[in-house]
């Protein structure tokens, strides 16, 4: 009986305890915070970008609300409300994470496109540069070939000239073509002999092929006669040759005529053969500097 009484008392106190919880107490701070957190999350981007997390938060809040309305232990209500608040905050954090990730993806996509565009532009420029380079190389090659051919032709012409009786040699001062005096002039005269012109014509042809050159025509005599006479004769002979070359189309201001007299012999003046060698006209062809 005593036991029954005690049990009944315990029973009553339990019911009282439960019904105290049942009393319409104001919602705990945790529940208020959870509601606020959920409302904030629900009105933000979470509903669009992280609906699953927001749903979790909603379920948690509903559980807290149920615990509160069904007068569960206040500690339980506070605990589940605490959890609900965290879930709502998590939904917001998830939404922010996804938004940032999307922003980064958009930016990366833009960067990728910009890079692709840049690469394309660079490739275009490179192709253009390559094409220009190729053109320039071709031009240079053509120029080089042209120059080589011209030099070859000029050399061939000089070789032909040598075959026709004129001497051709390379010296430091340039290419020197030597014509024997007898071939060009009668003894003691400065007028060209008719046969000389044909020979000079061949020289003109060669000179025309040499491109831009400065030509010096030097008249030389042997040592017979006075120096003054020889100097005068050699000067006039050089001028005769120059005048003829100009008449055949060579540029006058690039041709210089000078008389050297007997000052530059190439052989002895003691023999007839030597003297014949000394009587000569030299055409010195120097490249223009």
């Amino acid at each position: 009986m005593k036991a029954r009484k005690g049990l009944a008392l315990g029973c009553v106190s339990s019911v009282i305890f439960v019904s105290l919880g049942c009393a319409s107490t104001p919602p705990p701070r945790e529940l208020l915070d959870a509601r606020a957190a959920y409302n904030r999350a629900a009105s933000g981007p979470a509903s669009q970008v992280s609906p699953a997390s927001l749903h979790d938060a909603k379920v948690s809040l509903a559980r807290a609300e149920r615990a509160y309305s069904e007068d569960e232990d206040p500690t339980v209500v506070r605990d589940v409300a605490y959890v609900a608040q965290r879930k709502a905050e998590m939904a917001e954090a998830d939404a922010a994470t996804i938004s940032s990730r999307q922003q980064a993806q958009v930016a990366m996509e833009r960067a990728r496109m910009a890079q692709a565009q840049s690469a394309q532009t660079a490739q275009g420029q490179l192709a253009q540069a390559r094409s220009q380079l190729a053109t320039t190389s071709q031009e240079l090659e053509r120029e080089r070939q042209g120059r080589e051919e011209a030099e070859k032709r000029a050399q061939q012409a000089l070789d032909q000239l040598a075959a026709s009786g004129a001497q051709v040699r390379k010296e430091e001062r340039g290419t020197v073509i030597t014509m024997p005096g007898e071939v060009l002039f009668a003894s003691g005269h400065a007028d060209l002999m008719p046969g000389a012109k044909a020979k000079l014509d061949r020289i003109v042809d060669v000179l025309k092929q040499q491109g831009d050159h400065q030509i010096t025509i030097e008249g030389h005599t042997d040592s017979r006669g006075t120096d003054a006479l020889n100097m005068d004769l050699s000067q006039r002979r050089a001028e005769s040759v120059r005048d003829y070359l100009v008449s055949r189309g060579l540029t006058e201001d690039k041709i210089k005529a000078t008389g050297k007299g007997e000052s530059s012999p190439v052989a002895t003046n003691d023999t007839a053969v030597g003297r014949a060698q000394n009587r000569r006209v030299e055409l010195v062809i120097e490249p223009l500097k």
Binding site: C11, S14, D79, R86, M90, T97, A104, S118
Partner: protein, 120 residues
Amino acid sequence: MTRLPKCAWVALPLLAACASTPKPTERMASTQSAIREATEVGADRVPEAQLHVKLAQEQVQKAKELMDKGDNQRADLMLQRASADAELGIALTREQATKEQAQRVLWQTRELQQQQNPNK
């Protein structure tokens, strides 16, 4: 046979619930795992996340104490709080990391655009 008063049928299950709740070992394990994960993802360098991880750790400690006292139901609720805090710590850390990454990408993109269009 002793008859129980009617109210006992109401009170007994409530009392029994307390006594029969098993130890929340599974939730304990998953919560501790979440705390570890939070630390691994770098919660220590995000103050707000760090705070929640700390709260989670404290709540795990309280849950252990409650389990020692045999209050498994309360321990389970405490672990639910701890778990929510640990997961929030992870979410906040990820949010921060992603924001920083996005910021870096935006800067790089801007720099790239400036390199391409220096006049702009």
